[in-house]
């Protein structure tokens, strides 16, 4: 137990408004369970359908990104299929929820993601919606070129509140953090 200070972690997470954390091996079977829990149990009344949907859908896209694209693969995830290691955090502040993820990623894939993230930065909400619809039409049948659609969808859902941070690890790998804000509806935020 040396080095693990739960008090410090508890305190700093409290400061950040953290209400959910998962760190470890993500798989489809697990994200279905965690997603259900987030959607059904994490929200305190009055529940707003669009906020719950926003947090849930961003959680699913981020968790599926980890299962598909984490550079730390899990060989035999629960329920079969792909699996990868990462962290997912949901936090709440007065005016928003933030769903965040972090995982190791191959630098070649990272370059593609960063290119897309840069293309979206600063776009207004209707521009992001238009971009998502264009990308949806243009996407190849398998719908997944380097987490493309998911990024556009999350940027649209957050109305421009998607940010990221990259920590270089070595020549092949980096760690990417994605933060996706879901704004609260006004009367709820001021409650």
């Amino acid at each position: 137990m040396d080095g693990m200070n739960l008090f410090d972690q508890y305190t700093s997470m409290g400061r950040e408004g953290v209400i959910f954390v998962f760190r470890g091996s993500m798989s489809q079977a697990l994200l279905v369970k965690l997603g259900g829990m987030i959607r059904e149990d994490l929200f305190i009344a009055p529940k707003k359908l669009s906020e719950i949907r926003g947090v849930f859908s961003v959680f699913v896209e981020l968790a599926q990104n980890i299962t598909r694209y984490s550079a730390e693969k899990i060989s035999e995830p629960e329920g079969g299929g792909a699996g990868g290691s990462g962290i997912v955090v949901v936090s709440e502040s007065e005016d928003r929820y933030t769903v965040a993820s972090g995982n190791k990623i191959d630098n070649s894939r990272l370059a593609l993601m960063v290119e897309r993230l840069k293309a979206m930065s600063g776009l207004p909400t209707d521009g992001l919606r238009k971009l998502y619809r264009e990308q949806l039409k243009q996407a190849p049948p398998d719908g997944s070129v380097g987490a493309g659609l998911g990024l556009y969808d999350m940027a649209k859902t957050s109305g421009g509140g998607l940010t990221y941070r990259v920590h270089p690890i070595d020549e092949e790998t980096s760690f990417i953090e994605l933060f996706v804000d879901i704004k609260k509806e006004t009367e709820h935020g001021q409650a």
């Binding site: 489809q28 259900g36 359908l49 398998d142 659609l149």
Partner: protein
């Protein structure tokens, strides 16, 4: 043409494609790991069915949440029907959405506009 029935799960749609009455129903939520693989039998079935020249097709969609790769599959399904319709095929599309669920209504409206397929929206 055999009827295609797929039971729904927490993260895959309930699908009932009944050629006898021309009623094709999709219901529930979809966020499987591999949406394309899940919908593959649906595309195959639709190709076969629409090629038989059905007299009347009612497509009923009652969807709650789709991840991005499932949304892409749905767009492709609607494009199949738009192709059928624009070559004279008789198809009615109804999109059911839960009361107050403006997100799902908007998704349907966007998909209708993006594919050119007319959709009737009904609150359920």
């Amino acid at each position: 043409m055999d009827r295609l029935k797929i039971d729904g799960t927490k993260y895959t749609l309930e699908i009932d494609l009944d050629p006898a009455v021309g009623r094709l129903q999709f219901r529930g939520e979809s966020y499987p790991e591999n949406a394309r693989a899940f919908f593959a039998p649906v595309f195959t079935w639709l190709d076969g069915y629409l090629a038989t020249g059905p007299a009347k097709v009612d497509l009923e969609l009652s969807l709650d949440y789709l991840n991005t790769s499932s949304t892409k599959c749905l767009l492709d399904i609607l494009e199949v029907f738009e192709k059928f319709r624009s070559s004279g095929g008789p198809v009615n599309v109804t999109w059911f959405y839960a009361k107050d669920d403006s997100d799902t209504l908007l998704m349907g409206q966007d998909l209708s506009e993006d594919t050119g397929l007319p959709i009737q929206f009904v609150e359920r």
